[in-house]
Structures are given as structure tokens and as C-alpha cells.
Symmetry: D2
Subunit: 283 residues, 4 copies
């Protein structure tokens, strides 16, 4: 098995740490045991940190609250950067009026709502209002009827030339030790292939997530550059690939998607090379 | 617009005609008007014909009955070759015991059943019987709960190294003048990508469909060869591509997926070239 | 490591054996040591056998001669089924006149030539004769200038709506213990993506290869059915997948592309399941 | 045909203009006639502008000189942002020592050289120095032997787990009114599929190109935001898709890859929607 390093010795080399959420800080059972020590240590060392997550099911405020409830008091909404924020920014910049239809939970709707557009679940689109729909956003795999609404999404995109935005590029996510659930990224990918349209995808490994976080860092610590930032992730194809491409050092941990005994095979097969390898993000 | 030929003058050049079903003989509204004349003409001319369809939702017996009810009395079950028959042949040859789980309607189940295996809807698979499942068959997009059972399909294939068979390779099919419905081929494709497994696909353009029909032809007309057979279809990527590859002459008709005013663009863009082009399969 | 069975005990269960060539009978160093015993045993037992290969660089006659020179005297040209034969059959059935341009060695040209068409290397196509080109065939990765002729292939397919046929679907093949060479399948795939055209691919795993071999078997042994035939291969994605799909039992051997210590991982990752697993095809 | 707007009336709405190079400013014949007026107008109006190009064959200095030679005197090296700059930044940040092997012209080599690494053409890699190679960069389709070096690239990536960087994501580029040439993006894509590795791609539509340009803009005009910037391009899949995703307004012009009579079909088929449509970028 591939050798690992002590996580504390790794983060001591950086001024700012970006954390993936699911598989690094928490998993389907709750917090990764001991992870609270990591955040206490970061606060004590006055290192800056951000949660950079492909979870678009809730707003940064709601995501921060969920961390607080689990006992991670330091994680404030301004520390959370989600792919949903990029979807929202896109709508703010590019869609000026009309209806934004979405697939996802009401929580994700509420979050997009603040952009001033008329945000409606896809199920509320009908012959009367379809001509006003100016964007379709794939937010989350829950909150809608797959049969009804995935078919509806295909037909909406056949009838209207509008941008389709995918706020979470993941294909699947773990829901128990044994089982995964299909994520909205895979559902959107299927519809992209059926319709032949080109969707706009946010979320790691896309670099816009990292640009967003990097700009926040530079606002408070203008001397920091990419060499000073570490990305911590459990997934080679999103966290590590995206972090590497953006020019950050990266660390792969084994508390989520990648298992220690598979890691070497996967790294060699994909050529996605983390800078460091640690058992977990616990100090 | 691309020029068309008279269908009767085309079929007069061949001894055996293969017809796609949906978009050629019938559509969402019923029979293509006048198509009964084509079959009367074929009977009168003593030309042989077969329906070669990717519709695996029902058995050839049921498919033939549905044609009979619409007034096409000559189409007997032995004239119908469906991709479901290939799935059934695969199970007969390659899966010797245990459970075959399927996604689709009870009609498709009933049809597979005759193979002597224990055929169960995927929804009936649980922790007690999962270890006996020796194949998963994607038959039809109806008859199951997409959210529950597509997630279940992903997890079954993660836990068990078993063949996954797709009895209908289509991505979508028309359900009205304006709307299409996602077909089981697209749903299976999504799960293939999520799991990384390699699925076994039957149905046009795969040549096994044509081999199956060709062997039937040769049993009754041993002197016929591929030069004597014409494939009639409405879809470039399945009917025409598959027919061409098998070595048959092909004719594209405009009563289904391909519209007359788009045809030239699509033919040039894909390089899939029908031998003939006709408005419809009506004589 | 996954358990293996004795090859002799496996073939004793079948009447007809299909062998892949490269990685099973021979490799970059010559014959697989001891493989001559296998063919002696098959002759002695009066079992039928065929070489089913994606090698389209030479005709069956030339391929048989190359086996003979290596000491396998029993392998006659009628025992060799190559994907090039399917390309040739396609041209015979579907291309009636004009020029067939090809990428490959003169040996592959010579082989296509017998179809009576005007067969020219792509390098001989120019402004004067381009309008007569009615097909482009990708035969082999050698015998042409990659820079000149791959660019020429792209532009030919942009200017002329003609079928493009790929006689070897492989992506790469081993040329030494350490190194592989890019095969024509990968080069053709690149051009398919650039042009957006849909190419016609022959060669395993496509079932037309197996249909061709099966029909030959049935001509001499009409009582044989698919249950009586074993496919022997070193590659999961071509030999094993194709054999399985056609309804044959399959055996994976470790003298070529798949290594014993990787086999279990690859089988589980792909879900391509050989019926048997043996160290080699040597009895 | 889709309606167009006057280009001057479009740029009057923005403070900063990003131009694609090939197909917008110049083409295979030289400058787009009249384009010099556009730059004179921009200077006169004191609007800022940048050339944002996927051309990694030469450095910004060399690219600017080539514009100067054609008569566009205002285009200085600091106005040119190429995907090669991102490849160089990646190497600076992520590859600390050893050899960087590249495929491309010596000009592209010279350009990477400044990063202090040991930059060698792939043809200079052999058994003695292969263990020191820490990155492979695909810069340009010229300057190497396709047969020798594409095969060498496959084998290098099989032997060494190193990052592979693609400095130009394009598949093909026009070289005359009739003909295109295969670009390094397509060659790299073929090798990515053969090896199964995940390559790092820079160049439009990837947002890192736009981030790079945007940061330059903000250094000189800190009040400018994304709403004030227009991206001008001839290609839906790179310029328009990338600009849209980054949150910029976009304009499609017909002097390059997209033709006026095809535009509506392509826009509807892909769902990639330019904000404006103009015949050319000439005022």
C-alpha cells in the first residue's frame, strides 16, 4: 500500500487550506471522528480555510449551519464555497428576466431565488409559461419526480434554446457504507446526450470553483499566492484533478471515495497525482 | 430538399423487405395512413417481409397482436424480430441458473420468463436474494420507479459482477407530435457510465438483430442473399447504419424520427448514407 | 490472484475452438511456447478450430503462411477469419464502382483489390480523382505517412459523403515487453470525432466477426450450436466481451494483454466475465 | 438566415473587448479585411482589449510580432493571452525539477524554457533520461514526427505517472478555404483515450483562460466587472461557450469556423447562445 504522511506535518507547510466537505469533513454517518481537532488547530495557528464543495442542495448559510450543528462552530457561511454559488452568479450575469426552471429541493430553489429572477420547479412549467423559461438549472437529485421531470427536462430543451446549468458535476455520492446514490451530474449528463445540447457545468474539477475561493482568500490575505494553498480531498477526479490544474498543492485522504488499498492503482491508472497522501484530514 | 423516389419502385427491386416498426409502420397516433396497402402489395407480389424492431416491451406475439388490432392482419408473430428476442437468447445461452433481475413492464418479464430462469423485477431484489442474481436486463422505460430502481441498479452492479443486458439501445422515442420520452437505452447508458461496467447491447444498429432476421429468411428462401434484402427505416443511427453495416440496401423514410427538410443535413453530418430515400413506406 | 483451470480440461468440453491470434497463439517474440501442442491435440481429437483475428494488415492466406513459417503447419487459410474479410465483404455488397481509398500496407491493399474495385492508397487521391472516391477504409497503422495522410483523411471526409470503414477496432497492440504501438482503430476514432461522421467498425467485439466464423463452422458441422463453441482470448474488451455477447463460452488467458495479477481487478471493474480462466492456451 | 447586428453598435456597449485570434482577426489568408479599423476605433474610444487565443505554438511576444507585421501596430505582447501561458504557469507552480518533455515546434519549447525547467522535445527522451521526465506537454501539431512521437507519448505515459498537459484544446484548424489540419487537441485526446489517463487541458472553453485575462483587466481598470466585457469569437464550442460560462456577454462572427447560413442550426443544435451575432468584427 502506498505510504502516507502525517496530516499535521502537511498543513504546517501552507497558509491556507481548502477542504472538500463530503468524504473529508463528514460522511454519511456524521463528522469524520476527530476532525474538530483539525479546525481547532487551524484557528490556533491562524491559518485560513475554506470549504469548497460540489453540494448545491443547500445555500452556504444552510451548509454552515449543518456543520455548526455537528459541533464545528468555526465554520461560518463566508467560509463555504459551493458550486451552487457559481450557478447563481451565472444567472445573475447572464439571465436577465423570465423564469428559471430548476430540478432539486426547495432549499436549492430558495437559494437561487435571491437572484431576483422568477425561480420555479420544472414541474410548474406548462404550456402557458414555457415560452418565458430562460434557463434550466440542475441543482440536486432530490425534490422532484424522476420519471415526470427528467422527461420534462428533455422536452423543454428540445422546444427552447436556453442554457442548461449543472450545479453539481458529481455522478454519484455515498449514502451508506455499501450504497451510493445517483447524483444530479449523472442525470444531467444523460439529458445532455439525449438532446445533443452542450450544458454548462460548475463544480470541481472545473477551475471556476477554485478561482472563486482564491479571490476570497486574496481579499483578506493579499500576499497569499497559489503556492501557499493546499486542497484536501477524497476524490481524484474532482478535488485532486481540479486543485492540481488550478496550480495548488493537493492531498488525498482515505475517509471517503478513495480507499487506501485502491489508491495506488487508481493514481497510476488515471495519472492524477496528489502532492501528498494522508490517512485522513485529522491532526 | 433532398429528392425522393417512389417506394413501390424501390421495393420492386428486392425479394425481402425488413421494416422498422415505430416511425415506419405506426407512430404515436396509430398506423401510418395507407401502410396497409404496402402489406397487401407485398402479399400479392409474394415478397417476404419482417418487422425488425428495438421494441422489447412486449413479446413478438403481443407485438403481432397489436398490429392485427390496428388492421394489419398479415403480420404474424413469426414475422416479428425484436431486440428482446436477442436478450432472451443471451440468457438461454449464457445464464444457467439463479435470478434474472429486470427493469421494465410485466409484459417484458413474462416474455423472458419462458427461458426457465427465475425472472424478477429489480424491485423484488433484496439482501436475501441479491447473491443469487446472475444477470440484470434493461427491457423498457416503464413498469418501475425510476428513483428507487435506477439507484438500485447502480448498487446491484457495484456489489455483484454480473452481466448487464440492454434490450433496446434507443435513447428516446416520440410520444406525440411535440414530445419524446427517454428510452431504456439512455437510462442504461447513464448507469453504465456511473458503474464503469461494460453493458451488452442488443438492438439496431447492432448486427445481431440483422443476423437473426437473415437466418429466418434463409430458412424459408435459401437462395436469397444480402443483395436481395431491403431495410426500411426512419432513423439514420439505427435502421440505416445497422442495415448498411450488415451489407443490406437501405431506404430512409420521413414518417418518423427524420424530417424531409433536415434529412440532407443529417446525412452529410453523419455520413450515414441510405441507398434510397422515400417520403414513406406507403405504396 | 484469481484461480485458473487447466486448458486441456476446458477444451475437452467443446467441439469447436475459436482462437484470437496475437496474445494467444503468438506475441511480439514469436509463438507462445508450447502452443504447437495445442493444435496437435485438436487435430488428434478431431476438434474444429478457427483463428478469429482483428489483424487486417494481411490476407488470410498471408496470415496462414506466417503461422506455417512459425511451425504451425495445420493452420490453413480457410481457418483464418480476419476483420479485413468483413471490410472486403462490405465493399463487395455496398460499393459498386469508383475508387476505394485506404490507409495501410500494400499487403492490405492487395487483399481488398480482389473485390474488383479500384483500390488506391489515400496518398494517391488528388483533386482529379477525389470525386470518384466512394469509400475510405482504415486497414492498418503502417504503410502511410501519418501527418500527411491522417490530415488527408479528415479533409476527404469533409468533402465527400462516403462510408468510412474501420477494419480493426483495436486501440493499441504490444510490440515488445514494454512498449505498445497505436493501432488503426485509435487513429480512425480520432478522425471520427474530428469529422463528426459515424464510421463502420468491424472486428471483435462486434458480433459480425463471430457470425462469419459461426457460418463457416455450420457449413462443415451442421449440428454444432453456440453452446459447443469456446472463444479463447487475451483481451476482455474484444475477445471475451464479443464472445459472450454472441452467446459463446469464453476463456481468458494471460499470455497477452491481460496479466494474471491484474485480471480480477479488471474483470470486476468492467463486468466482462469469462466463463473460464487459464494461464495460457497451451495444453 | 439569422439576423445580425452592426459590430460597432455592439462594442459601444462594453468597456473591454476580448478577441479570439484565428477566424476573427486573421485567417489562413492574412488579416480579416478592415479589422485594422476596429483596433483604431478601440484606441480612439480608449476601450481596453485583449487577444485570448488557444494558439500555443508561439509566445505572446512572437504572436504580437506577427500581428504587428500584418499591420496591427497596437497589439503589444501584454495584450496577448494564450493557452500556452497557462501551461507555463502550471509548470512553474507544479513541476519543480527534472525534465519537461513536449510535442511541438522549437518556438513553443523556447517559450516554456523560461520556467527554468529542463525542456526537451519528446524525441530526445530515451532510456537514460526517461526516469527524470516529470511532465509531458502537448503544445502544437507541428515540429515532430507523428508516427514516432505519438507512439512515444503513449509509451512514456504507460511507464511514468506524470501529468500530461494540453496547451490547445482545439481539434482542428483551417489552413485554406477548403482544408483543415488536425490540431494537437485531437492528437492528445487520442492518446488520453489509449492510455486511460486524465489529461489537464487549458485553452477556451476552459475558464482559466478567461480568469487570466480578467485579472489583467482588473489590474489596470479595477472598476470593470464581468458585465462590462465582451468576448468576440467565431467558434461556438470554445469562444462562445467559454465566454458565456465565465459570465461574459459574447458575440459570434462569421469570418471563421461558423458560416452565416449554418449558424442558426448550430446554435439550436448545441444550445450555445451568443448574446450578439455580427457578420464580422470589423467596425
Amino acid at each position: 500500500m502506498i505510504a502516507t504522511t502525517d496530516f499535521k506535518s502537511v498543513i504546517d507547510q501552507y497558509q491556507v487550506i481548502f477542504f472538500d466537505s463530503f468524504g473529508v469533513i463528514k460522511n454519511y454517518k456524521g463528522l469524520v471522528p476527530g476532525i474538530e481537532n483539525t479546525f481547532a488547530y487551524l484557528e490556533e495557528q491562524q491559518k485560513d480555510y475554506y470549504i469548497v464543495t460540489n453540494d448545491a442542495s443547500r445555500s452556504p448559510l444552510q451548509l454552515a449551519h449543518s456543520f455548526n450543528k455537528l459541533g464545528l462552530d468555526h465554520i461560518t457561511p463566508d467560509k463555504v464555497i459551493s458550486s451552487g454559488m457559481l450557478a447563481k452568479e451565472y444567472l445573475d450575469l447572464k439571465v436577465n428576466d423570465g423564469i428559471v426552471a430548476f430540478l432539486g429541493t426547495p432549499d436549492s430553489a430558495h437559494y437561487l431565488d435571491s437572484s431576483g429572477l422568477h425561480v420555479l420547479p420544472l414541474s410548474a412549467i406548462n404550456d402557458d409559461n414555457i415560452s418565458q423559461v430562460n434557463a434550466l438549472v440542475f441543482m440536486d437529485d432530490e425534490g422532484f419526480d424522476w420519471f415526470q421531470d427528467l422527461n420534462k427536462a428533455v422536452n423543454l430543451l428540445r422546444k427552447r434554446s436556453i442554457p442548461a446549468i449543472v450545479a453539481n458535476a458529481d455522478d454519484a455520492y455515498p449514502i451508506s457504507k455499501q450504497d451510493v446514490s445517483i447524483a444530479i451530474g449523472a442525470l444531467a449528463g444523460m439529458i445532455e446526450r439525449i438532446t445533443g445540447k452542450k450544458f454548462i457545468r460548475f463544480g470541481k474539477p472545473d477551475s471556476q470553483m477554485f478561482t472563486f475561493a482564491y479571490e476570497l482568500v486574496r481579499q483578506s490575505r493579499s500576499s497569499v499566492n497559489k503556492k501557499d494553498i493546499l486542497m484536501v480531498g477524497d476524490t481524484l477526479h474532482t478535488d485532486i484533478l481540479g486543485g492540481n490544474k488550478f496550480g495548488l498543492d493537493t492531498v488525498l485522504v482515505f475517509t471517503g471515495n478513495t480507499l487506501h488499498h485502491d489508491a495506488e492503482t487508481h493514481i497510476n491508472a488515471t495519472g492524477i497525482l496528489p502532492t501528498h497522501i494522508c490517512e485522513s484530514a485529522v491532526v
